[in-house]
């Protein structure tokens, strides 16, 4: 019997497993963004009128950006959360990893597939908006989505590698980091130090805002987000490799 690379062969199934989660940002955008756009279009004489520069188009762009940000954030949060812990908790690992497959490579592949597909799905939003209302850049949406998928995905994987009930820890860290980092100037120095040690949620928003506005983001900020995410991802993969699968 000829043998193929098990992980490469399994990639299409991992892609299929990602699809329900990938639909989330589209559903969010369609449900929250399309209604205001439709209402604006009705007020301003249809989508054709909104294609002309003016107040309706400016309002549509505001709705687009706010809904896009929400879809990107929630989509990235839902993309990777629970995957590792769920396989462990529901004992799926017994079937998956009695095969000649390294668990850390399996989850890395799933992470990469999910992140790339997330960025491509997110690209549908500016493409759709461009077709209906006004042309908006697609590349910044793709790079921002990849950045969000990397940060939140690696945090989710780290939480999943540590705990079975990882969701509360994952969401808790994001919320605490976001709140503390946003209000850092008003907080005591030691709390600021704690905020700095948490995943750079606020800096990620700053980078995303710059990219979506067509500006260059601060290189230090981009490096911080990238290196922090990669460090979390590496820690998660080491944990997956070393910690017992059966717990």
């Amino acid at each position: 019997m000829t043998v193929s690379s098990p992980l490469a062969a399994y990639a299409r199934w991992q892609l299929r497993d990602s699809l329900p989660r990938l639909a989330t940002p589209l559903v969010i955008f369609l449900s929250l963004g399309l209604l205001p756009l439709w209402a604006l279009a009705r007020q301003s004489g249809g989508f054709a009128a909104m294609r002309l520069e003016g107040e309706p188009q400016a309002m549509a762009l505001v709705a687009y950006h706010s809904t896009l940000t929400l879809a990107m954030t929630l989509g990235a949060v839902l993309l990777a959360s629970g995957i590792v812990a769920l396989d462990r908790e529901r004992q799926h690992f017994r079937f998956l990893f009695s095969n000649p497959v390294a668990p850390w490579k399996y989850y890395l592949q799933r992470f990469v597939i999910g992140a790339v597909m997330f960025a491509l799905v997110m690209a549908l939003i500016p493409l759709g908006f461009g077709a209906l209302v006004a042309g908006v850049p697609v590349l910044p949406v793709i790079t921002s989505s990849l950045m969000y998928a990397l940060l939140y995905g690696s945090l989710a994987m780290l939480c999943g590698a540590l705990l079975n009930k990882d969701g509360i820890m994952f969401i808790g860290i994001i919320l605490v980091a976001g709140v503390l980092q946003q209000s850092k100037p008003m907080l005591p120095e030691w709390v600021g130090a704690v905020a700095n040690s948490l995943p750079p949620v606020n800096v990620t928003s700053t980078v995303r805002a710059a990219w979506l506005a067509g500006r260059a983001a601060d290189t230090g900020d981009v490096l911080l987000v990238g290196l922090y995410s990669l460090a979390m991802l590496a820690a998660a993969l080491v944990l997956i490799r070393r910690a017992p699968l059966a717990r």
């Binding site: 000829t2 043998v3 193929s4 062969a9 017994r94 990893f97 009695s98 095969n99 017992p244």
Partner: protein, 279 residues
């Protein structure tokens, strides 16, 4: 687990017996590298279990089917065939072969949540048969199977014997272990209490307990087996095969009529009783 030490040689089938909570599943998790020992070492062909599994894989049937219930039966086989490293061109044939082997063809398109416990277990067996691994580990393999499929399963497992293959079967079912295994390790409270070499234990020279039913001449028969117990028309005695035959022929010569002769319990049952129940 505490102080557990054993080896399984290529070509051998080792059974693991023990009461609930004895540590059978923990032992199997260690064999597959899902759980490392706190102390000591587990090696498979000289490697750590995890390294061995990641290099070659093991044919493994867990006690419970824990695959996602929204998968279809044929999809589950396809996915696990891909993970097993079966080339795309051979996957379809492999899937059909194992589906036919365990007789779940009519259920192939069903979601796992629609399958009965027995059919789920057969699906689990199907995925374990996808590849020709050097190590086979079955945990309570006939759990949930009906009597027909329990028998068929035994035939399938008997057919898996190969000189270069080591097999480990954990089961509550002592009769099953006695039929399939060369040796059976009896574990309780995390320790191996005894390892029974089934073939030797079933050998003619080993005394065992027999139950004989007679139509006539019970006294003549009892005279041949001092210490035997009598209940109604049945006599229970301890003897090896030669002594049993001698005693029976003497009793028949004295007019006894014997209806039935059978072991009153298997040698493994006896060993299990003395190792576990009496504790």
């Amino acid at each position: 687990m505490d102080g557990v030490s054993f080896e399984v040689a290529p070509g051998e089938v080792l059974g693991i017996a023990g009461p609930n909570g004895a540590g059978k599943s923990t032992l199997i998790a260690m064999l597959l590298g899902f759980l490392p020992p706190d102390q000591g070492e587990v090696t498979v062909d000289g490697s750590s279990p995890r390294a061995f599994v990641e290099r070659e894989g093991m044919s493994y049937l867990p006690e419970l089917m824990t695959l996602p219930l929204n998968w279809r039966a044929d999809e589950a086989i396809d996915r696990l065939a891909a993970l097993a490293g079966i080339a795309a061109t051979a996957r379809l044939a492999a899937r059909e072969r194992v589906i036919e082997a365990v007789g779940i063809g009519e259920h192939r398109g069903k979601r796992l949540k629609q399958l009965s416990k027995g059919n789920l277990q057969r699906l689990g067996l199907a995925q374990a048969l996808l590849t020709e691994r050097r190590v086979v580990v079955f945990d309570e393999p006939t759990h949930g199977l009906d009597p027909v499929w329990t028998t068929r399963f035994r035939d399938i497992v008997a057919g898996l014997r190969r000189p270069d293959r080591a097999m480990v079967i954990a089961s509550h079912n002592l009769d099953e272990l006695e039929r399939l295994c060369d040796r059976v390790a009896i574990i309780d409270r995390g320790r191996i209490q005894r390892v029974v070499t089934v073939r030797d234990a079933m050998g003619a020279g080993t005394p065992r307990r027999w139950r004989l039913r007679v139509a006539a001449g019970l006294d003549a028969l009892a005279a041949q087996f001092p210490g035997a117990t009598i209940a109604g028309d049945a006599l229970e005695c301890l003897a090896d095969v030669a002594a049993l035959n001698h005693g029976i022929s003497q009793a028949i010569a004295q007019g006894a009529l014997i209806n039935a002769v059978a072991p009153s319990e298997s040698s493994l049952e006896e060993a299990f009783r003395s190792a576990v129940v009496a504790r």
